[in-house]
């Protein structure tokens, strides 16, 4: 375990005053597109093997091994598509935005490498609708890349011409779910698909499709240049490589920081973020859907094993939200559940009705009308939904499930003290229940 210095953020200095957008020529001048040239000289199979060997796991949240995902593409079934998941909508997550604010070409180089390795015909960058500024930057970067022959040319040795398009979403969290993204890309309602068939077999427009996160693809150039062993030298055996950590909440210096995987949350907060404002109480490890880390879990290692070790859903996007002891966790949970109720696509009954019910219940508790039995009811409703128990098609409800579950398990007193009778503190407006 040794972190040699910024990999993904090497063009983005710590000092905000010195950050600037890297255009194509600036990017090339700092060693950009070297990796692509090197990759083009390698057989595609070798690149896939290199990525598998590097142990690169998806940075979008689930942590699925990237190279393994590529091998699921059926042989000789063309055209193949690459969908880049830039629908970064998870509360607490802003790493991809930061990356492309200044260094869009690192993503485009990663796309070009992945496209070459997998014989991709079209790459779609599905960008979140609210990221209009980033969309503009990327659009310009794509134009530059076309002008310089990165896109629009056949892959060496084939007649498959590779194109890259930017597709803007319309502002729906569910379109960050991979099959919801594909539906939205096809111009339909972003309702996640039932699987099988999996996207690698029948994805966008019923053709084989790979879906990768922005940060995953941005890791590729450095893997090509420096090799798998170098990549593996960072992080832990199960979680290799550098990682962008987003820190927000009650820290002195919120922002995006890069370090290897597996650093302690306390290290992230104290080394990079200037410590907690006030006294640490709880933190969300990677976007609100992952659940909460307790007061005694300050030193949790931020790697893909965090879920198993610390009773949260997973590392997620490593967008850490830190909360100090002044935080009302009931209000926090209500806000999280409100998000899921608002973003539920409405396809599966448990998620559609359950998230809204949770929100209404928590609103009532905050207004002071909580009852002791609500504790168990919150837990029961939460546990009934998600792909964990198998009751929904996609994982959106798991977010609500884990948030409610871990909040109640790790901070039961915060809730129980609000659920005693005779605690009316306000008026429950019916509008409070409207999401």
């Amino acid at each position: 375990m040794a972190f040699p210095g910024p990999v993904l953020l090497k063009r983005i200095p710590d000092d905000p005053a010195q950050r600037k957008l890297f255009k194509f020529k600036d990017y090339v001048a700092t060693g950009g597109y070297e990796a692509l040239r090197k990759a083009m000289a390698m057989p595609p199979e070798d690149i896939i093997k290199l990525v598998i060997d590097s142990g690169l796991r998806g940075r979008g949240g689930a942590g699925f091994p990237c190279g393994t995902k590529w091998t699921f593409l059926p042989k000789d079934l063309h055209p193949r598509y690459l969908a880049v998941n830039y629908d970064e909508s998870e509360p607490g997550t802003f790493k991809d935005r930061y990356l492309c604010d200044y260094d869009p070409h690192i993503l485009l180089e990663g796309i070009a490498i992945a496209a070459y390795a997998n014989r991709i015909a079209i790459s779609y960058i599905y960008i979140r609708g609210e990221y209009h500024y980033q969309a503009k930057i990327l659009e310009e970067a794509i134009q530059e890349a076309y002008a310089n022959g990165i896109f629009g040319k056949p892959h060496p040795g084939t007649d498959i011409v590779h194109h890259c398009y930017l597709h803007r979403g319309a502002g729906a969290y569910i379109c960050g779910e991979e099959t919801g993204l594909l539906e939205s890309l096809e111009g339909k309602r972003g309702w996640p698909r039932i699987k099988p068939p999996f996207p690698a077999v029948a994805g966008a427009f019923a053709k084989p499709t790979i879906i990768n996160n922005v940060e995953t693809l941005a890791c590729l150039p450095s893997i090509i240049i420096n090799g798998a062993a170098w990549f593996k030298s960072m992080g832990t055996p199960g979680s290799a490589g550098p990682k962008l950590y987003g820190a927000s909440g009650h820290v002195n210096k919120p922002g995006v920081y890069e370090d290897e995987l597996g650093i302690k949350m306390s290290t992230l907060i104290e080394k990079y973020c200037g410590g907690v404002k006030g006294k640490y109480k709880a933190a969300i490890p990677g976007g609100v859907s992952m659940g909460i880390l307790g007061t005694d879990q300050y030193d949790a290692e931020l790697d893909f094993d965090i879920g198993r070790k610390y009773n949260v859903l997973g590392l997620g996007t490593a967008g850490v939200i830190v909360m100090n002891d002044q935080t009302d966790l009931v209000v926090m949970l209500r806000n999280i559940v409100r998000f899921f109720a608002h973003e539920s696509c409405g396809q599966c009954t448990p998620c559609r009705e359950g998230t809204a019910w949770l929100h209404k219940m928590l609103s009532r508790i905050i207004a002071g009308f909580g009852k002791p039995k609500d504790f168990d009811l919150l837990m029961e409703v939460a546990l009934s939904m998600g792909i964990g128990p198998g009751t929904t098609i996609c994982g959106l409800a798991d977010g609500a499930n884990w948030a409610v579950k871990t909040f109640l398990q790790k901070f039961p007193e915060d809730f129980k003290s609000r659920l005693k009778s005779g605690q009316v503190r306000g008026v429950l407006l019916s509008s409070a229940a409207g999401v």
Partner: protein, 543 residues
Amino acid sequence: MPTMEVDGKKVSWEGRKMILQACQDAGVELPSYCYHPGLSIVASCRICLVEMEQPDPKDPGKLVRVPKLVPSCQTLAADGIKVYSTSPKSVANQKAVMEYLLINHPLDCPVCDQAGECYLQDYSYKYGRAESRFEEDKDKKPKKDIGKHVVLYSDRCIMCTRCVRFTREISGTGELAVFGRGHREQIDVFQGKSLDNPLSGNVIDICPVGALLDKDFLFTQRVWFLKSTPSISPFTSGGENIFVDHNEGRIYRIRPRFNQQVNKWWISDDIRYGFKFVHENRLATISVRGAQGEQRWSKTLEQIVRTFKEIVAAGGPGSTALVLSPFDGTEEMFLAAKWIREIDPQAWLMTNPPKVEGQDQVFKNPTTGVVNYTIRAEKAPNRKGAQKVISYFGGNTASIEDLGQKVQSGQVKAVVVAVDPIAHNESQLVAALGSVPTLIVLSAHNGELVQKASVALPVCTWAEKEGVFENFEGRIQVFQQAIAPLERSRPLGRVFWRLMDLHDTYSAAEARQLMAQAGLTDYAKIALPTHQAKVELMQFAEL
């Protein structure tokens, strides 16, 4: 045949089938809302989730339990698996889904048309919990007038999206869509559009709850008062299988009856709302020209036989004619033709040509091109049957125009006409036959021809009698009597049964035996089909 075990019961099936479909075909109940065998699979209502044990891939002899609940509508049935829909986990999910579906449901069953045939009610009893733990305000959603025949109560909707899939996959018109997101989402039509296609009424049938209701049926009758009689559509040559829902002699609605070979699960709106003629403008009494007061059937029929025999004796064979109607049962037409040929061996036989409206209207799935439904251009149920009867008897046949000339020339002096219930070409008939000296009109409705008749006899509509129709492809299908005949009207077959002085009680089955004895053996054994659904594996939805 592959076999699986569902809650301890053995279920076998053929081909590729989902667990839920295999169970439905075998008569084993699993709850489901969004699944419809005629539509694509979305697996979104989540009430059909079951626990499952399947052979261990490493050790095929051993069964391992799948850790998650699996949607039975979306999971292929496989040989040797075990399915548990009554295990604690499955039951907990059923209870949870029922609770979720009802938390924002208005529970206005007392004023809801669907009450009594509502899956929410049925499953609430069977799978739900007795009381709600929901103390919050319910979401309120509006009622919407979404189309010519359909009204939408959004607050009762459970978002199964069957209706949306119907308009996309069956009618191919795509008027309906889901709007909004999460618990605020609603079914609606696009702005400025309405649910207006020739199959629109089917969304009412496939709606498992009281969200989509029939404007025509709205608040007219509680469904538990209705009796359903299996019948055949009398409006087109398609031979669509239907149920006639009626109470106390009145028809309230028509519903499709599943028949994979004919109409599948669907009927057109023309059929659904066409039944009104049964209760409108009916001919209620016998009228004999020149006679005053109430006429009796027996006397009138005796008089008809006497008159016809006299005419044939005076004018010789070929001086009478019979015009059949393609709206009557085949056995009735057989009796009519048999009677007139017994009196006049060279009587002219013909059928009133049915109305043909444009071309057959074909409804295809826009993506797969599979034909879902065809509205036939020919608007009569039994032209084939009439043709069969006429060709069986052979001899003199003519068209209506030819008959008109023969009447003008005085060759034909007496005509028996069975008039269509919706006589589209009445003026043509009047022009051809208005001047016949002896015109016997058998009609269910008042009309111009009835006014010209020497004798007008009130007969039954299709709903008041039994018989068989033959559709465009010669499929012989029986329809049953739904309601009692109106006042003095009689089934056409019974009229000729009496004219031939056969023993007193007429039954369509006996008339068919007569046909079978006469060599038309197709009619020996006709019964209601007992359909086993043979459903092909559906595609997954693209919503």
